[in-house]
């Protein structure tokens, strides 16, 4: 087959069986590419199971720095007989299927529009290793070695990585290197190397980092000053707490006493987890929990309490595919409404929508400031794609000159100096935010009773209708104030004024950016764009929609939840908001967005209103 040489621009996918240790080998490969200065975005596609089922690892390699999923795969390393057939069929025309030729391929699976590269990995492992576990493990490392040869990468980079990873375990390094070299040699001897797809050194990653969003959230909580964390395990949020505890062990052990400057409580369930967070926050600590959809549902009653009694609380909600238990190891952006309006009655909650590990870090730290400033729950809405995959990101930043915004808290001194009656729910400053006191502050002033029932400005229980209304309207004033504090949207304008815009949020960012790039280059369609970062929406969000005839809203859910939220908040004519929805549980692709928008624009015959129904 005649082919052009493709350098640093393709997608490779590894098909493995979970629990066989393939993850670390695959990661070794992608990190090696990254270290050659070539941008990558790896995606784990794993089952909700511990051992024995198919699992995939898809790596997009793109020297132009497009990091969303593109769609389509050129090269598959097929190590799993269970999924072999569909893996072979997934390879794009002109691509390669690399397999373990110890057992011959079933001829019925052959395709003539792709190339098959067989390497007798298992056979080799049998001759090299005694124990079966080793055979299994090193088979993975071996195909990585083979890839190096096929893509024309030198093994030096790998060696360096291994040395860093296993600093004080030289024996592990050598054994891995052996396997790498064995694979490299086999490929060189038995295949024509290099193949049409190549990886060459570049300088295109700058000072970027490769990090899982959950890891960044955990670190953000440490920097944000969280001291109490209560949680209940659930995929895909568990690693947020793993990361928090890892960094706490590193940064939060008191040097003298050896005691912990933090507390992590594994709660009995999510109701207890959020209850502990609320109790700790009420008592003056910065506290948070992390969960996913089912946990969010269980926290509903407590969210209403925190909203109405005005208690800070931070939740990292790492979204997965719902409804119900849904697809626990697939991604989605489908808790947008459930988070924004959590709990019965008239409630609304501050939400943040990070798109990158850097934003995971920054927003998580910021969440504590917002929660204390507004004395209300703050929900950081990440998702499985961002949280559990290595994402390339700008380096994390921290300004040492800034200091925590603890919000309106009355100290003993302030109380001492006060000659008027303290009112927990008095709107002294007209911004809807009252002053709170912490238990134990003052022997005779500032004590009040916190409750989920209605109360007057002095926190005294009341069933008086006017008092109730005043309080509910103050909460709306507070909400308006929050509008100015939350992160502003990221708006990108095309040179020439443009009447159509695209709105995205969270993990739809990278794919949307790429789609816009190609809409411009390939179809001559250039559009403004806005990345929404927070709820309540700031004035700029309003302006952006106001200024465009109509806007596309890109989301990863079925029911266009962000679109509903935008309409509810700003009373825009829904005709002007056109949905682009991708919700099969895999991260949204640039191709999908591009095609949806292109088709729409090129044949908008019927009115957007009617057509938006289909979206």
């Amino acid at each position: 087959m005649k082919r052009d040489i493709v350098v640093n621009k393709f997608v490779i996918k590894f098909a493995n069986v979970n629990g066989t240790g393939s993850a670390s080998a695959n990661k070794l490969f992608s990190r090696a590419v990254f270290h050659m200065g070539v941008p990558i975005s790896p995606k784990n596609i794993f089952p909700s199971n511990i051992q024995g089922l198919p699992t995939w690892y898809e790596v997009r390699i793109n020297e132009d720095g497009f990091l969303g999923r593109r769609g389509g795969v050129e090269i598959i390393v097929g190590m799993n007989p269970q999924s072999m057939e569909r893996d072979i069929n997934e390879v794009e025309k002109g691509g390669y299927f690399i397999y373990d030729s110890t057992k011959p391929l079933d001829p019925s699976l052959l395709r003539d529009d792709i190339d098959f590269i067989g390497i007798p990995l298992t056979e080799k492992c049998r001759e090299m290793y005694e124990d079966s576990r080793q055979r299994q493990l090193f088979r993975n490392v071996m195909y990585v070695g083979a890839l190096a040869a096929l893509f024309d990468m030198d093994l030096g980079g790998f060696e360096q990585l291994l040395n860093e990873q296993f600093k004080d375990k030289p024996r592990i390094v050598t054994s891995n290197l052996q396997a790498l070299e064995a694979g490299y040699k086999m490929a060189q001897e038995q295949c024509t190397c290099p193949i049409a797809y190549r990886i060459e050194r570049r300088n295109n990653v700058g000072n970027k980092i490769l990090m899982e969003g959950n890891n960044a959230c955990g670190l953000g909580a440490v920097y944000g000053g969280a001291t109490v964390s209560a949680w209940y395990p659930i995929t895909p949020s568990t690693s947020v707490i793993d990361s928090f505890s890892k960094f706490c062990r590193k940064f939060r052990m008191d040097p003298e006493s050896g005691k912990k400057n933090y507390a992590i409580v594994q709660a009995e369930d999510e109701l207890a987890a959020i209850g502990m967070v609320i109790g700790a926050s009420w008592n003056g600590a910065r506290a948070f929990t992390a969960t996913s959809g089912p946990g969010l549902s269980l926290m509903n009653e407590f969210f209403g309490l925190a909203y109405f009694a005005e208690i800070p609380a931070v939740l990292i909600n790492v979204q997965r595919a719902g409804p119900s238990t849904g697809m626990p190891t697939r991604t989605q952006q489908s808790d947008i409404l459930a988070a924004a309006y959590a709990s019965h009655g008239d409630t609304r909650h501050i939400c943040l929508y990070p798109s990158t590990p850097k934003e995971c870090f920054t927003y998580t730290a910021m969440a504590f400031d917002l929660a204390e400033r507004f004395q209300t729950p703050v929900i950081v809405l990440s998702d499985l794609d961002l949280g559990m995959n290595d994402n390339m990101s700008d380096p994390l930043e921290w300004d040492d000159t800034r200091s925590y915004d603890r919000g309106k808290i009355m100290t003993k001194e302030v109380l001492d100096g006060m000659d008027v009656r303290y009112g927990r729910y008095l709107d002294v400053d007209g911004d809807g935010i009252p002053y709170r006191t912490l238990p134990g502050t003052h022997p005779t002033k500032g004590a009040y009773f916190t409750r989920g029932t209605s109360k007057d400005e002095y926190a005294v229980y009341t069933e008086n209708g006017e008092k109730y209304i005043e309080n509910m309207e103050r909460l709306l004033r507070k909400w308006e104030t929050a509008r100015e504090y939350v992160p502003k949207p990221i708006i990108r304008q095309t040179e020439k004024p443009c009447t159509v815009g695209v709105i995205y949020y969270g993990t739809s960012e990278a794919a949307t950016m790429e789609a816009l790039h190609y809409l411009n280059n390939l179809h001559g369609i250039s559009l403004d764009s806005m990345g929404v970062k927070a709820f309540p929406f700031s004035k700029e969000v309003d302006q952006f929609i106001e200024n465009h005839e109509y806007v596309f809203v890109v989301e990863q859910n079925r029911d266009a939840q962000m679109r509903s939220l935008l309409i509810n908040e700003f009373d825009y004519d829904p005709e002007r908001l056109v949905s682009v929805l991708h919700y099969d549980g895999s991260p949204i692709t640039a191709r999908f967005i591009r095609h949806e928008i292109r088709d729409w624009i090129l044949q908008t015959t019927t009115s957007p209103r009617r057509r938006s129904r289909f979206y």
């Binding site: 000072n207 980092i209 990090m211 670190l219 440490v222 920097y223 001291t227 109490v228 209560a230 960094f247 940064f251 939060r252 008191d254 006493s257 050896g258 005691k259 912990k260 400057n261 933090y262 507390a263 409580v265 709660a267 009995e268 369930d269 109701l271 207890a272 209850g275 502990m276 967070v277 609320i278 109790g279 700790a280 926050s281 009420w282 008592n283 003056g284 600590a285 506290a287 009653e301 407590f302 309490l305 380096p395 994390l396 930043e397 921290w398 040492d400 925590y404 912490l438 238990p439 134990g440 003052h442 022997p443 005779t444 004590a447 009040y448 009773f449 916190t450 409750r451 989920g452 229980y461």
Partner: protein, 350 residues
Amino acid sequence: MSYNIPTFRHPNLPKNDIGYTSKDYEGAVSTLCAGCGHDSISAAIREACFEMSIPPHRVAKLSGIGCSSKTPTYFLGQSHGFNSVHGRMPSVATGANMANRDLIYIGVSGDGDTASIGMGQFVHAVRRNVNMVYICENNGVYGLTKGQDSATTDIGSKSKKGEPNALEPIDLCAIALQLGATFVANSFSGDKQQLVPIIEAAIAHRGFAFINVISPCVTFNNASGSTKAYDYMREHMASTNTVDYVPPATEITASFEEGTDERVTMHDGSVITLHKLDSRHDIHSRRSALTLMQDYKAEGKVVTGILFFDKNSKEIHETMNTSSVPLKDLSEKELCPGSAALEKINQSLH
């Protein structure tokens, strides 16, 4: 930390060691039914805190939802209080305790709030040995929702509704003991002499101190057929011991009889004198406590008093080895690693 004495004074009222009068321990006027057992418990809490010379603002009062859970409004008006949601007080109290280990935590709940909707959280608060007093004001009925049987209603017991209860009751003391609770007592709202010192001992205890107080609901469960009625309790209550509490560094005047009496020094230096009324029972043996309860139950009696406590109790902060400075008081400097450390992390991820 020094406390300046409240400004308003009642010269003619007796003062405690820190100069507070009983008035300083009062709360809002109760809105419960006249004669409700819960009000007596509030009074007992006030008295205990006064006698122990606890500055009210060093106490945090927490509760769930119910008539019982309303009571924190009726004592210690200078303390912060938190009337949370139904059955979830244990988690809120646990979180509060995590944030500030220096306050005294008094949790008030009801039998519905604890044994039904709150069962799971109760079990786990016990298991964690959270340093708090947990009082279940047990009237064997849902008072605030007007008289449904609760999970602690005895088989055959009749509330105002008149239908005998059919299901096994949950014995909260027995469950707490089984779960490894480090302080377990049973009492009766009608017996202040017994209740006050028990509350004092519970406050002095380091760890989760559970007090189940039978507290009759005069409106819905005080009929003749009820085993949680005043009359029934007066007839069937049997105390295994009475307790004397003596604050730290105070001369002990309480009488002491070799053999039947026992003196225990709590970790805060206060001393408890137990007058044993039942020689069979060893208050430091979980097993003996369970047996004792089974025996009395078999005799159709309700055993009261301190049933068990563990002198070597390790509360949750000790187990977790958390900072002795309350976590809420740690400064930004202590908490935030700063930009230099972050730079290193960036390096490692590049």
